[in-house]
Symmetry: C2
């Protein structure tokens, strides 16, 4: 079997972490860099990734489960880290200027035309954001979708590294917004990912077979 | 450097495909199976992946660029294949029953409780879809976001396989809906991915440095 398929087959949603096992610093660096390298429409990168590893921040995250989704609360402290996937619900042309600045910084420009024309041509791509922006400047459905690309990228990355993970849309969006308002700076977090190592003997999900819809339901070959 | 980071560093958006180079059948099988194994909230899999490889289907896709985004049209015929990422904008409890049926088919059940109780408990997870469903039954922003997880997964998969790709939100959603209405069956396609091999000598993007926002802009360590 292809190593790609075996990686994806072997991963499962961790239901019980081993709180004594931490992801190494080197591995965390790979995870952070893989997040940063994620693909997005027009390279917009309308995201922030908040990485929770300290006891203080874990406590803060744990407290956001006060009202709902308590079944996920234990991961806040047992997992090695939690990644908050945050998107900018009001992504602007000014935000996109930062992407263009980064292009200039590494020389991702057309040398045959002036810097001004380079900038104008690059800004033209912002039309893809505009197509997804309402009259109030809200484009959060679009930026959120981009953030889910990073999510899919990191799930695959972790599968390769043999590090366990738990996807959590089961978080209290409002309490997370309150508790992490300084770090979010107006961004929103609709999904978090706990990462670490499963306590296999207590993790019922480690033993269950993987389940997906049959190929004929989801793949159409033309 | 980690092979994960070098894979992600080396990938780039192909701007010119070599129409003479086809992805092998074996590789296409890996890609299709990787798509199917993608992660989604409550394992909802509210998606379909339409794989375009035949001349007839490529012509049909090419014709959808009649009105806009003509800069992407050439990929319709030059790329080895195009994947249409399609989401169900009205995902229902009945759709989720199919996921539960698949669980039963592989024995992903709790043997200590009755099949009926297994089914009830599994259906309870549908609350995550409900939280994202409006009064008209529309939950397309949520199902679209799930589909972008599959997108991120496959971008990483292709990077590992050294196969080039081009993300295309630049498609005519309405014309694609018309031209592929039989295959879509009510689903919508908001993003496509051309895949194949770059014609490097004519692909300006093959030579440009990769650009991303600096780490301090997107990663916050707590």
């Amino acid at each position: 079997m292809s190593s790609i398929i075996s990686d994806l087959q072997n991963r499962y949603t961790v239901k019980q972490y081993d709180a004594s096992k931490k992801i190494s610093k080197d591995d965390m660096k790979v995870i952070e860099e893989a997040l940063r390298l994620s693909v997005s429409s027009i390279n917009s990168q309308p995201w922030k990734f908040i990485i929770i590893e300290s006891d203080e921040a874990k406590q803060r995250f744990s407290d956001t489960f006060a009202n709902k989704f308590q079944f996920n609360q234990k991961h806040a402290k047992d997992a090695s880290a939690i990644i908050l996937f945050c998107h900018n619900p009001y992504y602007t042309k000014n935000d996109y200027q930062k992407v263009i600045d980064a292009d200039f910084a590494v020389g991702r420009i057309n040398p045959d035309i002036s810097p001004e024309r380079n900038r104008d041509e690059k800004l033209g791509a912002y039309v893809f954001a505009e197509l997804n922006t309402d009259n109030f400047g809200f484009n959060g459905n679009w930026t959120k979708a981009q953030t889910y690309i990073a999510f899919g990228n990191i799930i695959h990355t972790l599968a390769r590294m043999n590090i366990g993970s738990t996807s959590m849309e089961g978080i209290d969006i409002d309490l997370v917004k309150q508790s992490f308002s300084d770090e979010l700076g107006g961004f929103e977090c609709h999904v978090a990912l706990a990462i670490g190592y499963s306590k296999k003997e207590e993790d019922y999900n480690a033993k269950l077979p993987k389940s997906r819809l049959p190929e004929k339901e989801v793949i159409i070959n033309l």
